[in-house]
């Protein structure tokens, strides 16, 4: 086991590649998501996408913000070798909707908005609301964990370099 701080910095790229792959899958093949969640309805890029390109010790950052913003600039950045470092997502199952941001380097979740839960009107309501919130958080974290797990097996196989990278490159250049 590597030292935690060393491992964090050494493998930041892995989280960024996960988010890049996730964006690609969102745009090209959502059937995978259904395999990991039978209730799955949709996963879309929300109102923020950040890409970073570190070449020749220089860092270029492209930030796309706003509802329904065009992501073309992000695709151009991808073709130049950038990776997604932060993505805001909207995840829907049945009538429920989650919104959240994921950071590549830490896989931290931020700005998580859960589907509506019942109000706390009396002290007796607290336990029910807590358990409902925990269930809803577990649902989205479980979904992300499953996708990351799928990604990491793919990433550690030869398929990644031989098939996935060319497919991502083709998608980025053809849009």
């Amino acid at each position: 086991m590597l030292d935690i701080a060393v491992a964090y910095n050494r493998y930041k790229f892995l989280g960024n590649e996960f988010l890049t792959w996730l964006w690609f899958m969102i745009e090209t093949d959502q059937s995978l998501f259904r395999q990991h969640d039978p209730d799955f309805l949709s996963l879309t890029v929300g109102n923020r996408l950040v890409l970073e390109n570190t070449r020749n010790n220089a860092k270029e950052t492209v930030t796309i913000k706003g509802d329904n913003a065009s992501l073309e600039e992000g695709l151009v950045a991808l073709t130049k070798g950038a990776a997604v470092t932060e993505i805001h997502l909207s995840y829907k199952t049945g009538s429920q909707k989650w919104e959240f941001s994921l950071k590549g380097e830490s896989l931290n979740i931020s700005n998580l908005k859960l589907p509506e839960t019942g109000p706390i009107e009396t002290p007796d309501d607290l336990e029910g609301v807590v358990l409902e919130k925990v269930y809803l958080i577990e649902k989205v974290i479980g979904f992300i964990n499953n996708l990351f797990s799928h990604f990491i097996h793919l990433r550690l196989s030869n398929t990644w370099q031989n098939q996935t990278i060319p497919r991502i490159r083709k998608w980025a250049t053809s849009n």
């Binding site: 964090y8 996960f18 550690l156």
Partner: protein, 204 residues
Amino acid sequence: MGLLSSRNSITRYQVTGQLDGSVHETVYQGLKQHAIPKIEDDGSEATAGWTSLETPYAPDFEGYSFVFGTYMVFALRIDKKSIPPKLIKKHYALNVAKRLADTGRHYLSGNEKQSIKDHVVNTLIHRIPATPNVYDLVWDYDAASLWFFSNLKAANETLETLFVKSFNLQLIRLFPYTTADRMAGLSNQERDVLGKLEKSRSKE
């Protein structure tokens, strides 16, 4: 920021190790022993301790009130005093002027200036109330999983330290490497590949 807020930030952890004896009783004892003090310690810049989800300003863990179904839900409270730099500057200037006037000198030595500054900070810290910050956490003991409702580095570091001290269990933060290594069910061969993995070359 907390579990019941309309927006959440979450840092995920794996909990390693096992508690001896009854889980709820051991956690209760740890929470009680390391609860945030009810009476503010006027002299310290920051105080951290456990508190309850429902009453964060009056910690209460009686009756295992931190148990919600199969989860344990409580909070880390960090009370911090921060003195505005301009306030230090003002009181420092007043104290320096007074010292010069009292001694009839035109200059103060470096040591004297530092001593005045320390005195000013020390005096102000006793007069300024601490600002409390409460960060909830959800601990699923059976799944060895913990969610901490903050992404702030300092809050996470305080959590990691206090958790070990209170329960004698380690928290492993789940970021890309640790998630891959500990949560994805990798084979030995995959783990070897992970150990040597480099950034993809997506552009030729």
